[in-house]
Subunit: 479 residues, 2 copies
C-alpha cells in the first residue's frame, strides 16, 4: 500500500547516506500519502484568488486553513494583517542552539479563467492519471504543503523537528507581493533565519529535479511620445510634421543590434562573465533545440552568437520590446499621422547589473538619441535585481543531498531566465544569502493556465526530500 | 434685395471682361439667392449616409432628388444602378458642335457622429452668421448645387446653355467610390467630354480662391510579422527567440532617414523636380508657419531640408507609418515576447511616380532587409497615382477667369497633398486631361467633422463663377 509501492521506490535499500533520516519517517510518508492528497484537495477547494475582491472571504479562509494546520503541528501561528491580504506566520522553536529554516510559500492563486478550457472545474480537484488537477495545484498550494506534510511525518515519528522552523505563507504573491516588503521590514527580528527554502517553481524538466541558483533581474519601462495635438491627415501634413511612431521606432531600433546585443552604453559594464566551469556545467544540461523550435513554432533561435541557448536564456542580459502602439490598428486603411505612440520595453538583468542603474542608463540613452522634435515621457514600471546564490555553500550541498534522497536522482543546478522579486527582498531585507530555490513542480504543470496540475509522484518525492532536507541542513550546520 | 447687396458686389461695374455673361444672369442669381439656400436646405435634410445600410432609402431619396432637379432643368436624367448605390446621370445636348462639360459631384455624406458635438442637429440645416450648418453642407451637396443653380439661372434668363452638359452625381464617394470605375468603363461613350469640373474641395484659405492642379498619389500597405506560435514569457525565452516587434521596427526604421528622405531604392527615380517658375509661384502662397505650428501643437516642422513647407506638403513624396501594433499595450506591465506585430505604412506620391511600381519597390525592399527569422506578410491596401494638370491649358485659363468673375479675386494655383482617387479614374478611363478642380469650400468648413458648414457667400460667389465658367469655356473652345 501507499506511494512507496506505486512509484516502485524502496527507501530501505536506498544507497544514499543521509544517516539521520529514520526509515520510519519514509514509511510514515508512504503510509499517509492518500491522506496528504486528500488534505491538498481540501486546500485546493478554497478559491483564494487574490486579485478579485469578491474572493476576500476565500482568501481569509485559506489563510485560516494554513494557520490551523500549523497550529496542529505545534506551531505558534497567526495571521498578520497587511493593507490587503494577511500573511500567515508560524514558528516552532526546538532549541536555540539549532539552525533555523524559514519556509516561504503562498496560499493565493491566479484567477482560473478561461473557465471554458478546464476539463474539470478549477476548484473541484480531480485526480487523473497520477496528477491532481486544480487551480493552485502546483502554484503554490501543492508545493507549499510538502513542507507541512514532511513536518507532520517527522513529528509523528520522532516527536520533534531537527531544526527550528519558521513558516511564512503570504496571500499576495499572484498580485506582486505589494505588502510583503513592509512585512519583512517590520519583522526582521521575528524572521531571523539561517536558511530560506522556497518551492514555487519547477524542476528543470519532467524527471530532472533542479536547484535554482540564479535568477535574472528586470527593468521594465514605458516610453510615450506626443506629437501634434491630434491625429493629422497624412495627405495634408505628410512631409512637414514629425510622426511619433517614426520617432519611436528610430529610437527603439538603436537599443539592440541584430546580433541581439544591447546597444545601451555601459549596459554590460557590470555583467559577470560566466566562469568556464559554470559554462561547462550548463552545457551538460539536456537542451533539445529541435523540440524547442517545434514547440515555439520558429525555424531559428536567435541571440548572442557567442553563447549557448541555456546561457542566452538564463545567464545573459537581454532586452525586449513587450508592446508597441500608435495610430490606426483597425481593419482597412486610415491615412493619419498619429498624435502619439508608445512602447513597453524590458530588460532582463544578470549579476552584477543593478536595476536602478540600468533604468538610468536606459533613460539617458533615450534622451541622448531623441530627436529634438520629440516630447518624450519615460515611466519606470517595475524592476528587480538579479540573484546569484553561491552553489558551493553548505545549504546548497545539503539540499542537493535531500533531493537525491527524495527523487533518486542528483539534481541539476540551474539558472532561471525569469525573475522572482521576493527572492531579492529576502536577500536584502533579511540579509540571508542561503536561499534554496527548490522547484517541486514541472514546466508542463500549466501554472497560470487552465488545467493546472501537480504530479502526485512529485508531491510524494518532494515530501520525502523535505524530510531529508531537515536532517541534511541540521547536519551541515552542525559540522 | 438678394445676395448682391448682402455681399456688396456690383457685377454691373465689374471690370473683368467676360463679355458673354449677360448681366441679367447675375441679377437672376442674386434675386434667387434665398430660394437657392432653401433648396440646399431641402437637399441637406436627406440623411444620405452611404456607409450605413439603414440609410438605403435616404440614399435613394437623395438620388431621386437630384434626378428630379435635373429633369426640371430639361436634362435627360436617370438613375444608373450599381452594386450598391445608384449613380445619377443626366445630359443636356445643346448643339453637337459645342464643347461638352461633365460635372462630377456626390450626393452621399459622411456619418454625422459624434452627434453630441453638433450645436444643431446634422440633418436639420441651421443658418448662423452667414453659414449653413449641416452634414454635407460643404461636402458635397452645397458645392454640387452651385452647378445646378447656375444652370437654372442661365436657362431662365437665356433659354439655353452655352455648352453641352453632362452631370454625374454618385452616391458612394464617402465609401471610396467602389463602383464608379466600372460605371465609367461601361459608359465611356455616354460620358465622352471635353472638360470635367469637380468641386469637392476647398479654396486655399478663407478668401483665397484656388484652382488645384496637382494631387499626390498614394500607396498604402500593411506589414504583418509572425514570430512564435503564441506570446512567450520574456524571462523564459528572452535572448533566444526573435521578437517580431524588434524585427518590424528594424525594418521600418530603414524606410526613411532622419531628414525625412525616403530610403527605398529607386523611390525618387521618376519624381519630377519642381521647375523654378512653379517653386517661385508656390513661394508666394501665404503660409503662416507660426500659426501652423500653433494649430498643430508642435514646436518644429520637419521634412526635407531643401524644400519649402508648401513643397513638402504637396509636391514632394513622403512616407508615414500610419499605425503600429504588437504585444501588450494595456496598463501596467506584461513581460511577454509577442507572437506577432504589424504596421500600416503609406506613401504619398508625386508625378511621375506610379502607385503600382512603388508598391513593388516597397515590397522588394522589405524583403531584402527582412531578417531570415521573420515570417512576413505584406498586403496592398489601396493606392492611386498622382495627378498633375497642365496649368496653362485653355480650360484652366477659362476657369481662372470665371473664378475671378465670381470671387472678385484671381485664384491661386495650388497642389494638394492629399489624393482624390476619382480624378485618376476620370483621367485614365475617360482619357480627359482637362479636369478642373475648383474647390468652393473653405479649409475650416469642417468636412467630415461635427458642425460641418458652408459659407452662404461662397455659395453665391461659386454660383456666379459657374455661370461665368460656361461662357469662358465656350469661348476658349471656340477660339
Amino acid at each position: 500500500m501507499g506511494m512507496k509501492k506505486i512509484f516502485g521506490m524502496d527507501r530501505i535499500q536506498h544507497e544514499l547516506e543521509i544517516a539521520m533520516v529514520p526509515h520510519k519517517v519514509v514509511d510514515e510518508i508512504s503510509a499517509n500519502s492518500q491522506q496528504y492528497v486528500e488534505e491538498l484537495a481540501e486546500f485546493l477547494r478554497i478559491p483564494s484568488v487574490s486579485t478579485e475582491s469578491e474572493h476576500a472571504a476565500d482568501i481569509r479562509h485559506a489563510a485560516m486553513w494554513v494557520a490551523k494546520k500549523l497550529g496542529k503541528l505545534g506551531f505558534q501561528a497567526e495571521l498578520h494583517e497587511t493593507a490587503r491580504h494577511p500573511v500567515v506566520f508560524g514558528h516552532l522553536l526546538v532549541d536555540a542552539s539549532l539552525p533555523t529554516l524559514l519556509i516561504y510559500g503562498h496560499y493565493d492563486v491566479q484567477p482560473p479563467d478561461p473557465l471554458a478550457e478546464w476539463i474539470t472545474p478549477p476548484f473541484s480537484p480531480s485526480i487523473r492519471e497520477g496528477y491532481i488537477y486544480a487551480r493552485g495545484a502546483t502554484d503554490n498550494k501543492g508545493q507549499c504543503l510538502t513542507y507541512l506534510m514532511a513536518m507532520e511525518a517527522l513529528l509523528s515519528v520522532t516527536g520533534r523537528l531537527p531544526l527550528n522552523v519558521k513558516v511564512l505563507i503570504e496571500g499576495e504573491e499572484e498580485i506582486g507581493s505589494p505588502n510583503l516588503g513592509q512585512f519583512l521590514q517590520k519583522n526582521r527580528e521575528l524572521l531571523r533565519t539561517d536558511v530560506i527554502a522556497i518551492s514555487d517553481g519547477s524542476q528543470f524538466a519532467p524527471g530532472i529535479p533542479a536547484i535554482t541558483y540564479g535568477l535574472r533581474g528586470l527593468c521594465y519601462l514605458e516610453i510615450q511620445i506626443q506629437g501634434s495635438n491630434f491625429d493629422l491627415h497624412s495627405g495634408s501634413f505628410g512631409g512637414v510634421v514629425a510622426n511619433p511612431i517614426q520617432e519611436l521606432i528610430e529610437m527603439l531600433s538603436r537599443l539592440k543590434n541584430t546580433d541581439g546585443i544591447v546597444a545601451i552604453p555601459s549596459f554590460y559594464d557590470h555583467v559577470l562573465e560566466l566562469p568556464p566551469d559554470e559554462r561547462l556545467e550548463m552545457s551538460r544540461l539536456p537542451v533539445d533545440e529541435m523540440q524547442l523550435k517545434k514547440y515555439l513554432g520558429v525555424e531559428q533561435l536567435t541571440g548572442e552568437p557567442d553563447y549557448s541557448i541555456m546561457e542566452r536564456k538564463t545567464a545573459r542580459p537581454t532586452l525586449d520590446i513587450n508592446g508597441i502602439w500608435g495610430g490606426f490598428a483597425g481593419e482597412g486603411a486610415k491615412t493619419i499621422i498619429p498624435a502619439k505612440a508608445g512602447a513597453k520595453v524590458s530588460m532582463r538583468l544578470v549579476p552584477n547589473q543593478r536595476s536602478s542603474a540600468i533604468n538610468e542608463q536606459f533613460k539617458s540613452f533615450i534622451r541622448s538619441i531623441a530627436p529634438s522634435t520629440a516630447k518624450i515621457q519615460i515611466a519606470e514600471m517595475h524592476g528587480s535585481d538579479p540573484v546569484l546564490i553561491e552553489r558551493n555553500q553548505p545549504a546548497m550541498v545539503a539540499a542537493a543531498k535531500a533531493i537525491e534522497f527524495g527523487f533518486d536522482k542528483k539534481p541539476v543546478f540551474i539558472r532561471e531566465g525569469g525573475s522572482i522579486p521576493i527572492v531579492g527582498l529576502f536577500k536584502d531585507v533579511l540579509d540571508c544569502g542561503s536561499i534554496l530555490l527548490l522547484g517541486w513542480g514541472s514546466p508542463d504543470d500549466g501554472a497560470h493556465s487552465p488545467n493546472e496540475r501537480f504530479s502526485l509522484e512529485d508531491f510524494h518525492r518532494a515530501i520525502c526530500s523535505v524530510a531529508a532536507l531537515f536532517y541534511s541542513l541540521e547536519e551541515c550546520y552542525r559540522t
